[in-house]
């Protein structure tokens, strides 16, 4: 159970950071 939650939370953090990074890159290309 704890392993599953650790893997899931790791994926959550990765996804959020990736989304923010892509958004930043898109915004910088628009400028």
């Amino acid at each position: 159970m704890s392993i599953v939650l650790i893997i899931w939370l790791g994926l959550v953090v990765y996804l959020v950071r990736l989304d923010r990074k892509i958004t930043k890159l898109e915004d910088s290309l628009k400028k």
Partner: protein, 235 residues
């Protein structure tokens, strides 16, 4: 802040609750409380896989059908963005297919004693993985973008037609170990006819919805990062 940021955080909280519910809701012989699930004879705790393995298979199908639809749109319009979306969907479909296969294999080890048994369900999912493996091999063998996109689109249409057959039909018309095989029609009723208690249905459908929305988010990220890569290489 990324678009729809709060919806995405809500989805992640939703799926966290699904995972916690799916793994922690106690299984008892006679449920009394809303959070208690009934013990399914011969499966017991192994039944929890239904909250993850089935939604992954469902998401595989959604992704492969999406790849087919974008393939058709590319063939109609010749817009390269549709090819980008088609290959992104196919990639994600393959990823979810691998996850469904892995979770199924783990369940098979506990239930049938070995990870792989060449059961019709296992064989059909393996064939599906080979079909989409060939899709990526085809793409990597062609250098010209327009030709690559056209052939991939045609392939994705044919592959997309086979996906429902390998996921829904073939495992049910052959005898096998997996629940729902020919001769064990009752084994498919928990999913196909919703013969599960209401609280179990809530977690199950919450998982289906969550995984589907997660797929759309992955797809969105994949397409956006591919477009960024294109604009950097071809300004």
């Amino acid at each position: 802040m990324p678009k729809y940021f709060f919806w995405k955080i809500a989805l992640l909280i939703w799926l966290t609750l699904v995972i916690v519910a799916g793994l922690l809701m106690p299984m008892v012989p006679v449920p009394h409380a809303w959070y208690e699930l009934p013990i399914i004879p011969a499966l017991e705790d192994k039944a929890r896989i239904i909250f993850f393995h089935v939604p992954m298979s469902w998401t595989t199908l959604v992704a492969f059908i999406a790849s087919m639809v974008y393939g058709i749109l590319f063939l109609k319009t010749k817009k390269m963005d549709y090819d980008l979306r088609s290959v992104s969907a196919a990639g994600l479909g393959t990823m979810f297919c691998v996850l469904a296969t892995v979770t199924g294999s783990i369940w098979a080890k506990f239930n049938w004693g070995s990870f792989w048994n060449w059961d019709p369900r296992e064989t059909s999912i393996f064939v599906l993985l080979l079909i989409y493996g060939a899709y990526f091999t085809l793409r990597s063998a062609i250098d010209v973008d327009e030709k690559k996109a056209t052939l991939s689109a045609v392939y994705s249409v044919i592959a997309g037609v086979t996906a429902p057959f390998f996921i829904f039909v073939m495992p049910r018309i052959m005898t096998g170990l997996h629940p729902g095989a020919k001769g064990d029609e009752a084994g498919s009723t928990p999913v196909a006819q919703l013969h599960m208690p209401a609280n179990m249905q809530v977690v199950f459908f919450a998982s289906i919805v969550g995984f589907t929305l997660l797929y759309f988010w992955f797809f969105n990220l994949k397409v956006r990062s591919a477009r960024l890569e294109q604009s950097i290489h071809q300004p």
